[in-house]
């Protein structure tokens, strides 16, 4: 036996005893795929079920013969909803509220985050923590006092705040602003201090530093915050349920429930269709901005 073959044998023996990196990696990948598949099935089941149900007629749904298969597919539910003025009004209200809330949120939280993270002033650190703490208070605790407040406002000023879709523009930012401010503070904190100092030396004022350096550099964070604000406003259920009642003031999540459930009659086909169509806008936004969203969530967390 030659020296070279001895060495190879020894190497093989070592590998079989301790395993190799590539084998470890292979096993890690197998387990990853296994769990990813399990999770994917688990989380995709409801939307798939919604899709199947939305393609069925009411008769087929109530017959309940085969919940996971469509025997007589129909687009009837879709056509009915998309031609119904009430459903389109819900959709329009939702879109309007969400877009305006996103704009309001960004207009408040970006400058706030900049001020809290960069302009050193007395109490800024405490204030930053305070902003985050307000996010931790659940809305279920807030809607009753808010209702009371709105009633008082009406009593003293005559301004009717209840059952008006635009009042949601005041309510949603209480949920979105703290969290978006917090995301942006983290993101701005990862921008090196020298960058604003360089801009200061170049003759920029704070507004210019924010608009010409910070916002472009923190764009992924900004997008993440935008998506968050949009999703929260789009999916919000409790506030619109509590504060809006008449059909023309409702937003999508509440509208579907109140207009498609009549007494104890559940119009399942249309409920599923409405929910599925309602889920589309955030889904489309996610699909386009996914890369930025993930970059935004992680980049703020660690330095570099």
């Amino acid at each position: 036996m030659t020296v070279a073959s001895l060495a190879t044998d020894a190497a093989t023996a070592r590998r079989s005893r301790y395993g190799s990196i590539s084998r470890d990696r292979r096993w890690a990948l197998r387990w990853s795929y296994f769990f990813l598949t399990v999770f994917a099935i688990f989380f995709l089941m409801p939307p798939v079920y919604m899709l199947i149900t939305s393609l069925k007629t009411s008769q087929e749904i109530s017959a309940a013969t085969d919940p996971w298969w469509v025997h007589n597919p129909t687009l009837g539910n879709y056509i009915e909803l998309l031609t119904s003025p009430t459903y389109l009004a819900f959709f329009r209200n939702s879109a309007l509220v969400s877009v305006i809330v996103v704009v309001i949120t960004m207009l408040i939280s970006v400058p706030a985050a900049f001020a809290l993270s960069r302009m050193r002033f007395w109490g800024s650190a405490t204030l930053a923590t305070g902003v985050f703490l307000t996010y931790l208070i659940p809305e279920t605790l807030l809607f009753i006092p808010l209702f009371k407040m709105f009633a008082l406002v009406n009593e003293y000023t005559g301004i009717q705040l209840i059952n008006r879709w635009w009042v949601l523009l005041l309510l949603y930012p209480t949920l979105t602003v703290p969290f978006c401010t917090w995301i942006m503070i983290g993101y701005f904190a990862s921008i090196p201090k020298e960058l604003d100092e360089a801009a200061l030396m170049d003759g920029a004022n704070y507004r210019q530093i924010l608009t010409r350096v910070f916002i472009p550099v923190a764009l992924p964070g900004l997008i993440a915050a935008t998506i968050f604000a949009f999703t929260v406003s789009w999916a919000q259920f409790l506030y619109p349920l509590a504060f809006t009642t008449s059909a023309d003031q409702l937003v999508l999540p509440v509208g579907i429930v109140t207009s498609l459930i009549k007494g104890d009659v559940f119009n399942w086909g249309q409920i599923m269709t409405g929910a599925l169509l309602g889920a589309a806008p955030p889904l489309i936004i996610y699909a386009f901005l996914m890369d930025y969203y993930i970059a935004g969530l992680t980049a703020g967390a660690t330095k570099g």
Partner: protein, 366 residues
């Protein structure tokens, strides 16, 4: 073009004093380097000049006008940062023109200035790139370009070369000197590297613990340090500093370094040192290059030292030898042909014309 004056400048952070009463006059077109170990207050001083730190007490004046309360953007100074601080979302051109665009200069004027600066720095072909596509040295050039295009009154450099590798550092050092010769803008440069300080500066300001130890031309600091700190800080390898005693007998004044070793003080120094004869608390200082192999050239009083070489470090053009006197490390510089080997005995001669004597109590060089 501007003169900068610092008068009784103080900076306190909560309970620490970073800068403790600095007086410094920087002439128009002068290249001044602030040098010192980390934490000596040099960067804080620079940032106060820039306006990025508030002044706790004292005055900063530019061309006779006190600028303590003038915000950085109105001081007309440009700063080059250690980590370059380039705007990552802008191209090199946009980075360099940012300051001019903020001041709404006409487009063709901006283009002319950027092209001119890019030509000086040899980065014309990089103007369309983003900072992440550049190497460290190129980024540093862009950072300098950003300062040059503004044609400011004062350039401020905050350790601009410490993120570069050794070779590039030397290259950029020359570059900075060349740029300064071309644009002749008053420059304040901060570094902890004394070689950088020596090579770049018209005048070097050595700082220690928030105070100025000595101000002087590079050669002056090297050959005539005023304090023990400057003597030890300037020069690489550092000056040998050994506790000693002064003795006088019929052969004249001698510096005693150990029981066995006493070196004759040259007559030129003797008059200055005589009052310290017999006193304790003295330190003898001699640079390594003044401790060389015996060239037997006679003339000046040569102190001979028999050295037992513990470590020899060949550097090519010379060899550093380390040995001990009274248990303390001493470094000498000998010719590579002198045959210095570890463990060997070697006769070294101390050129005592270049010796320094330091009073330990005051830290002053006598």
């Amino acid at each position: 073009m501007a003169q900068v004056s610092l008068r009784k400048l103080f900076k306190r952070f909560d309970d620490t004093e970073a800068v403790r009463g600095i007086d410094l006059e920087i002439a128009d077109k002068e290249f001044v380097v602030l040098v010192g170990p980390s934490g000596c207050g040099k960067t804080t001083t620079l940032r106060m000049i820039a306006g990025l730190e508030e002044v706790s007490a004292g005055e900063i004046a530019v061309d006779g006008e006190v600028v303590n309360d003038v915000p950085p953007k109105d001081r007309d100074m440009a700063m080059v940062f250690q980590n370059y601080a380039l705007y990552p979302h802008m191209t090199v051109y946009e980075n360099m023109s940012f300051g001019l665009r903020l001041k709404r200069y006409p487009k063709d004027e901006i283009a002319r200035r950027v092209q001119e600066a890019a030509r000086i720095l040899d980065i014309t072909e990089l103007l369309d790139r983003k900072p992440r596509q550049l190497s460290g040295g190129q980024r540093q050039r862009v950072a300098m370009g950003r300062a040059i295009v503004r044609n400011p009154k004062v350039f401020l450099f905050d350790e601009p070369l410490s993120n570069l590798d050794a070779k590039l550092r030397v290259q950029m050092r020359t570059e900075i000197k060349r740029v300064h010769q071309k644009v002749r803008t008053t420059t304040v440069y901060v570094t902890h590297d004394q070689v950088e300080a020596m090579t770049l500066a018209d005048r070097v300001v050595v700082m220690n613990r928030g105070r100025i130890e000595q101000i002087g031309a590079p050669n002056e600091l090297y050959h005539a340090p005023k304090t023990r700190f400057v003597a030890g800080f300037i020069g690489s390898p550092a000056m040998n500093l050994l506790p000693c005693r002064l003795e006088e007998d019929d052969r004249g004044l001698r510096v005693r370094l150990s029981e066995e070793l006493a070196l004759p003080v040259p007559p030129a120094h003797a008059a200055r040192y005589r009052s310290h004869v017999g006193g304790a608390g003295l330190t003898f200082g001699l640079r390594p290059e003044h401790l060389t192999e015996n060239k037997s050239n006679g003339g000046s009083p040569l102190g001979m030292i028999d050295a037992h070489i513990e470590v020899a470090e060949p550097l090519g053009m010379e060899t550093l030898v380390f040995f001990r006197i009274n248990g303390l490390d001493v470094c000498g510089r000998v010719s590579p042909n002198a045959g210095a080997r570890e463990g060997a005995r070697m006769r070294l001669c101390a050129s005592l014309d270049n010796m320094h004597l330091i009073d330990d109590a005051t830290g002053a060089v006598l």
